[in-house]
Subunit: 242 residues, 2 copies
């Protein structure tokens, strides 16, 4: 893991890093000591590690004392897309142009992305651990970040609390059933790409004794701002106050 730049904003430090092909960022509160509780932020499809919404969310978590790490998905945020990924993205775009629903395409696309990103997230955790950066670890991701977060949380024992959501159950119920860490799960009640029943089925399938569904009105992109506060409190409850 090579840190390629270090800047600061409102006292928080931001360090860009590379790890093989992975491009990522590690944020820390002003004057942070290590190790400390760390939140992994998984971005959605078409976004990247420093997309505005994700950045605002990172700063909310920093304000509560967490370190935050994010990596770009392949084909996102300046990382090149493989031919396979280009073909998948093109197929989704063609379907959208034809006015057909694209939601049913996501499980297949996200499964391929998870096949790449679960090992990338784990390698990132390995490197951060070698650098002494890892206390308790949480994962936050919705939409593509949620569909990747389910197999990631199932595979990675260092993750001990997760906020997930905005994802269909297709192909994810088995991994979800093996997850036993506390989960907060976001549903948009009028999601245009994730059918309500499919989202509820995914929530239903988590094996966690503590899991909470938060559903709000509106479409896929309309998660209300107060859910970020709620996520921060969820992570504080499980990663800090114990």
């Amino acid at each position: 893991m090579y840190f390629t730049s270090e800047t600061s904003f409102n006292g928080a430090s931001e360090r860009l890093f590379t790890l093989g092909d992975i491009t990522g960022v590690l944020w820390a509160p002003a004057g942070a000591t290590w190790p400390r509780p760390l939140i992994l932020l998984g971005h959605g499809g078409g976004r990247h590690k420093k997309a505005p919404g994700l950045l605002a969310q990172a700063h909310r978590f920093l304000a509560d004392g967490f370190a935050v790490a994010a990596i770009d998905a392949p084909g996102h945020g300046g990382r090149p897309a493989s031919e396979q990924q280009q073909r998948m993205t093109e197929a989704i775009r063609e379907r959208a142009d034809a006015g057909e629903p694209i939601g049913p395409m996501f499980p297949g696309y996200n499964a391929v992305m998870a096949g790449w990103m679960v090992p990338e997230w784990r390698a990132t955790l390995d490197a951060l651990e070698r650098g002494g950066h890892i206390g308790a670890v949480g994962y936050w991701g919705v939409s593509m970040g949620g569909a990747i977060g389910v197999p990631l949380a199932a595979a990675e024992p260092r993750i001990t609390a997760a906020v997930l959501g905005l994802a269909r159950s297709d192909g994810l119920t088995e991994a979800a059933a093996s997850i036993t860490i506390p989960v907060q799960f976001l549903v948009q009640w009028d999601d245009e790409v994730v059918p309500r029943d499919s989202a509820l089925a995914l929530f239903d399938s988590f094996g966690s004794a503590e899991k909470t569904l938060h559903a709000n009105p509106g479409g896929h992109m309309g998660v209300p701002a107060f859910e970020v506060d709620s996520s921060a409190r969820f992570f504080t409850r499980h990663l800090v106050s114990r």
Copy 2:
């Protein structure tokens, strides 16, 4: 409204009152000035205004600076039950003794209770308002307290935020559709007396632009303690920070 006793506990004041047949309690934080934000606490069936769970919850809200008022339902907490209510209660008990599900009895029972309690809550608010006790008003009630809270919030414009839940949709969707204040709605995912679909249908029917469903695993009586904190923050957001 006659205050019949005043005591204090951990600095908070507790004043018991009567208003006609109604028996109630008004709690206030230490050194409270009036008017201040007020939360109405509606108890569940078979409970009363100072049942242990409700009392703990009142103290949680007091800690955040709210005043809290609760009244006993007819036939609860020492208030006499009418012949009609005795017949209803007996019918539910017979059904339970016969090993049959009692959940389907609740909408009818709760509708009768709401017919009595909506005017009682409104009279209580009138009296508290005359006493200068009313700032912004919220209502918290689940199970019977939720089934009463829906028509109450629909009828009473002084209530501007409500936490409701653990109730079937039967007979409540029309009143719910007329509610436009922010609502936080609690669902127990494995509720043995409220079918999941019926609870989700009631959430779906609220007319509120801001409504949030919080669903947790477990049965009717198993709402996790962290939901009380979440309710307190919901009321702070809507009754205080504006």
